[in-house]
Symmetry: C2
């Protein structure tokens, strides 16, 4: 199994040294912003800095990176300490569990436990960096942290996500494996969609293929469930499935991602059941032309907004206008998002693209009563960019 | 299809009147606490009050229940307005979309949009209730709301979750359907686990069965992915799966939930591959005795802590001690949790049990190097309680 071949410890997908480098790069960014302690609650950030992996993020947990301490501390529910022992590279002394009375209690909050811990370690006057807009860092958490420490609590926003944005070659290898799973999954979905087949039965096969992966490597759960706008909901980008059947002479969109060790490679295609009307065919041709143009503009040194502009130039020339962003940075992710929240391909984004950034180029077009979505996961290379999935880039019909 | 049979609108699983009753009950609770506007960001709460359903909760969205306005406002990304039109019972005037520039931007935050909206409606001096510890209400959101309104922002905590805790008969019917799917899914998992079979292949079949449901009704995605502690990770309650094989002469735990319209019925069983050692068999017998005792103590009028005490009495008499809670309220849920965060079966919880509460009785026992988990979803009835799944309540072996 690839998991066990990569390194000596069976339960981390990367060798210890990779985590060490991530910690070092994060520390540098902390230093630049004068942060003594980084407190990160996003499961992807916890995984990134330690390897920790478990569906335990429905309770409060965090990784605490202290400038003077070699490895970060993992702070979570005591029940999950064994999970941290098995899945992380952290030494035993760095694993700290809080008692179960803190779980979903109105009387005690895990952030109080963390504040006590900070005090015990003489860090209550430190400058503490947090991502104040993360799903896993609630308003209450921020309030308690501010009230029970004496230093400065700094919203460092996406500091750690920015470290995550440029991938290592090992990370790229997993995203390429995820892309293989995406291709398999999309083929499965397209083969199966027929008038009269229930949406839930197609979703079931999609999830099975995503999770089983290939004979060589297994898949993981996606941070976003299969999105399946279809027929009357074809204009609703984020609907999932119901137990209603697909309908002839309608558009169906399938947006999925293969996943390998929580690394994603999203892929979207649109299928018409029947002979597509000429308006839909023409629009699809414009979308494909726009993607081709945008992808050839995506290269090291280009700005995120340049890629958006390349896309926009093509579609606007054909009288199509789209208000939303046409892509975003992706990689390691847990529910509810496979996006990294850093780079967005839109007018205002001045991010300079670098080799081994990975981006979901997702230019969904949502018309009055139908939609077209064709998307690609791309890797910025030394020379330009490359799409990681191999699925035909076109409107599909059957 | 059950979806379309239940009422006139094809995309809400309940008739409009059920949502109307939920709104009315929530309004009463708001009144008791002097709340003019309830701002809820949890996707389950949004769904509960409006029907809205989409995997769009990776961006900020909310439901805003105003005392004087008949239906709540849905405030989300403009791209998701069509999704709200199709899946919610809300009138068009109550659907409000924010422009895409607000999405994952460092310059503009959706909560600023909401504050503007409150000002426009003359509600910026109102008493605004929020659940400050929800996953989907970040520290930054609370900060902006406090800074940009002039009234009182009140942390009402689980106000809405408490309304959700007692189910209607229609909700019970969906949880019963979810329990049917749980039984099918568990059977599939137990049939498939064998030494040498990859964990990911079993997880794939589990997800397929969860999502396909039955021929009569489809399944949905679970808020918690299949938990599969096994062999060396059998002591780690929240690990999922890898592409490593199951091993002979080890314990495997499977914790899953069937899901119907986002209503859950979790179920856990433990399987020993081989002949279980006597210590494991004896412990399983104690667990089953403890569950039987606890379930017969769960009845209207009993306190949550009474059920915990009944369980504890049995296991302590056999020299087994467990620190964590042994169950919690469940129902409508989106990632990352199927729990409602209200009732916990533990020493301090004085909640009085009422008919049509639904609880995941989950007494996981985690030993030094193995674990036993057998769990049941129960419904509190008029007379006592009933387990909703039919799967044999015992240690399994093969």
């Amino acid at each position: 199994m690839a998991t066990t071949q990569l390194n000596g410890t069976p339960y981390t997908p990367f060798p210890e040294d990779e985590y060490r480098q991530r910690v070092a790069r994060t520390r540098e960014k902390m230093l630049e912003q004068g942060i003594d302690v980084l407190l990160a609650c996003d499961p992807a950030s916890i995984n990134y800095l330690s390897g920790y992996d478990g569906y335990s993020f429905y309770v409060h947990q965090s990784i605490m990176l202290i400038q003077e301490v070699e490895w970060p501390l993992w702070v979570g529910r005591a029940q999950d300490l064994n999970g941290a022992r098995f899945t992380s590279v952290l030494p035993e002394a760095n694993l700290i569990g809080y008692p179960d009375e803190f779980v979903q209690s109105t009387e005690q909050h895990p952030m109080e436990f963390i504040c006590t811990l900070l005090r015990e370690r003489g860090l209550h006057k430190a400058s503490i960096g947090v991502d104040a807009d993360n799903y896993y860092f609630s308003g209450k958490s921020l309030g308690i942290l501010r009230a029970q420490t004496e230093g400065k609590v700094v919203d460092v926003g996406l500091l750690l996500n920015r470290v995550r944005t440029v991938k290592s070659l090992r990370e790229i290898a997993y995203i390429e494996q995820a892309a293989q799973i995406s291709d398999l999954t999309m083929q499965q979905a397209i083969d199966m969609v027929e008038p009269g087949v229930r949406q839930c039965d197609v979703a079931a096969e999609i999830l099975k293929t995503q999770v089983a992966g290939t004979a060589e490597f297994g898949g993981d759960y996606p941070a976003i469930m299969p999105l399946m706008p279809s027929g009357p909901t074809a204009t609703c980008p984020h609907v999932t499935w119901r137990d209603i059947p697909f309908q002839a002479e309608t558009v169906s969109v399938v947006e999925i991602s293969g996943v390998r060790h929580h690394y994603h490679a999203p892929l979207t295609r649109t299928l018409y059941l029947g002979t597509p009307p000429s308006e839909i065919r023409r629009t699809a041709d414009v979308v494909v032309e726009g993607i081709d143009r945008a992808l050839s503009s995506a290269a090291p040194g280009a700005l995120a907004r340049d890629v958006h502009a390349a896309w926009n130039t093509v579609i606007n020339r054909h009288g199509i206008y789209k208000e939303s962003r046409c892509g975003y940075s992706i990689g390691l992710g847990y529910p509810p998002d496979w996006g990294e929240h850093t780079v967005s391909l839109r007018a205002g984004d001045e991010t300079v693209l670098e080799p081994n950034m990975t981006i979901h180029f997702m230019p969904g077009i949502w018309m009055e009563d139908w939609g077209i979505s064709i998307s690609e996961t791309i890797r910025i290379t030394e020379e330009g960019s490359v799409a990681l999935c191999g699925f035909p880039r076109q409107l599909l019909s059957k």
